[in-house]
Amino acid sequence: MKRVFSGVLLVLFIMVSIGSIGYGAEKITLKFFHYLRAQEQQVMISALESFMKKYPNIEIKYEFVPESDYITKILTLLAAGEAPDVIGLKDLMIPDFALQGVLTDLDPIFKAKKGSINPMQWISPMRKHLTYRGKIYTVPEQFSPQVLYGNKKLFKDTGIEPTPQIFENLTWEGLIPLGQKLTRDTNGDGKIDVFAFGGVGGRYDDRSAIIWNYGGQLMDPNFTRWTLDTPQVAKAYQVLLDMIHKYHIIPTPEESAGVDLFSIEKMALVYSNRYNGPYYATFSWANERMFIAKAPKGPVNDRNRTSCRVMGIVSTTKHPEEAWKLICYLTNEEGFQLQAKSGRTLPWRADQVNKKFLEPWMLPFENADVYLNAISRWHGGVLPPNSDVCRKLTIDAWDAMVLKKIGVKEGLKKLNDDLNKAIKGW
């Protein structure tokens, strides 16, 4: 009896000890910010809840902030000493945040081999892209290189079968004769009803692929000086402007009037990326008539551009280890799989960039081979500081050229000067 009693006491002691360890462990709260749209938030919330189940001693207080005022909110909270611990951001925001000391340099964490993220496993352009002034501040969360999205019906209406061969070696200038066939006045009123091509925005990141394809560079390798005042860049701009003014295969702003002509089957091809996949999937005609094809290349190279979303640890965090655990989970483990369901990303880990890994994710109109080609053609992008101002300047300059308020060479010279002024002092 005494032995039984002692045994029960021992078991009770052990249980109480274990329990007290559990209660004694400090619960850490991490603040997590992202600029996700309402449609994407639930996926992220699921991932965060799944993380909290796996790590019960870490509580995540998440906050979604509309993209339009994301930077304002973060900078306000930073100034007030209330900054989040982990933030999601666009790759284009990296310089501004890194140069203001907002982001933690992740290199020491990588070197210490903590967590499951190893940049050496990323495709090398991703590693290069996210290495800003010699340091990696962020890890990728979403990744979408450019391809062409097309409408089979609009091709077939002109007697063209949109086979992959058409796009195999398609160049920007080769797009012109193809576009002339696809551009049509269907009711004979002298006005164009179906345009061949669209999705050519004015921002520097939109323009980057064609500039590279014609041998130009947007900036010097360290992103400290803009280099848009070169003949190569002028040629790239001229090709696009000719598509609008001379060949009329891209609508003018008046002709498109802010309308997404592709969505209403008035545009045969659009230059876009998988980030828009869920949007395209809402088109009633998408599953039946949409296809994707390789993006055009240029006379010098076939380099491609991408849209990239990343995550970083805010330098003021008091819990860097836990913050890192969260990032590892969201971008490299179960969280990544959950996010992939949102249909807006492609893999960036070298061992995942293959058809077998990609195919289960493909929407009915997508094609893994085309995306793999797009990934292989991406060599990293440009990351200027003061990116919002730079983007606005490039949009304004492009609009002025489209409206023929200024010539290409003169416009690029002025734009280059304005951009260099905008990044001066950063």
Binding site: Y35, L36, R37, A38, Q39, Q41, Q42, K61, E63, F64, V65, P66, E67, S68, D69, T72, K73, T76, L77, A79, A80, E82, V259, D260, L261, S263, I264, K266, Y275, N276, P278, Y279, T282, F283, S284, W285, S307
Partner: protein, 276 residues
């Protein structure tokens, strides 16, 4: 029976005004129409003003994507309490600065006015720190109380109160009224057009407030409609059908307030030259 004389000028004026009114109404018609469309119908050319088919899924999607009912309650609660609170404080402040005599009154008023010159973004961080110190962040206090103190509202009403004839105030004083009675029995009843117009503008100001609630709140349960609607758009993609469904719902209280106080609104603009 007297016939009205045909006046081509009036006919022309009606035609021009009708065109103006119609062009002002087009965005609202588009908003209403889009709220009941499928995404593929949104940008059809020529525009389809009457959707076919008419769907209500956008409203369901809106409520499934976000706690829109909660946002709605928050917006109504904050706007209504904020409007009444701001009007009450503005009336008291304006009366003090217009009819009460106390040392340094006009100098204090100028100082008070000068605070209008400080841009909102400059005040943002200090205000955030104050709200945090008061432990008001992410509560109704932060959404309502700071907005109650409006220099603009006090200034507007003060100017209106000064227009009331002094004899009325003096007569009331001789009859034994104290300041409190004069304010509520004489000044306020004579100022209903200005107070009504200010009430409508205050309500709209509170209803459309975006940056303040965005910065000062963090949880979904404290968000208001403008912040919620901003989550439906980003750089690449905006689902206009759901966004317009939200905008239609957001417009309902504004229309009710406008219809209820329309006569004050028009008179107030005429009397005060007030226009936002």
């Amino acid at each position: 029976m007297a016939h009205r004389k045909f006046n081509p000028g009036i006919v022309l004026a009606y035609i021009v005004l009708s065109i103006g009114a119609f062009s002002m109404a087009i965005p609202f018609i588009w908003m209403l129409s889009t709220a009941f469309k499928t995404p593929s119908q949104v940008f059809v050319i020529p525009p389809k003003w009457i959707p076919s088919p008419i769907i209500t899924d956008n409203f369901k999607k809106l409520f499934s994507l976000m706690p829109f009912g909660r946002y709605y309650f928050n917006s109504i609660f904050v706007s209504v309490t904020g409007t009444f609170g701001r009007l009450l404080l503005a009336i008291l402040t304006a009366y003090a600065f217009s009819w009460l005599e106390f040392p340094g009154r006009d100098k204090i008023f100028i100082l008070y006015l000068a605070t209008m010159m400080i841009p909102f973004h400059v005040r943002l961080v200090p205000m955030f720190l104050i709200m945090r110190a008061l432990r008001w962040l992410d509560t109704y206090y932060v959404l309502i109380i700071p907005g109650l103190f409006s220099v603009y509202a006090a200034f507007l009403l003060r100017q209106f109160f000064l227009g009331i004839h002094r004899d009325l105030i003096d007569a009331a004083t001789i009859d034994g009224c104290n300041s409190w009675t004069i304010l509520w029995r004489i000044v306020v009843p004579l100022s209903t057009p200005a107070i009504g117009a200010l009430g409508i503008f205050t309500f709209l100001d509170e209803w459309n407030s975006f940056m303040w609630p965005l910065i000062m709140t963090s949880s979904n349960k404290m968000r208001v409609i403008p912040v919620g609607l901003a989550f439906l758009q980003d750089q690449y993609y905006t689902d206009y059908t759901i966004l317009m469904a939200g905008a239609v719902l957001a417009l309902v209280p504004v229309i009710i307030v406008f219809l209820a106080f329309q006569r004050y609104f028009v008179r107030g603009i005429v009397l005060s030259g007030l226009k936002e």
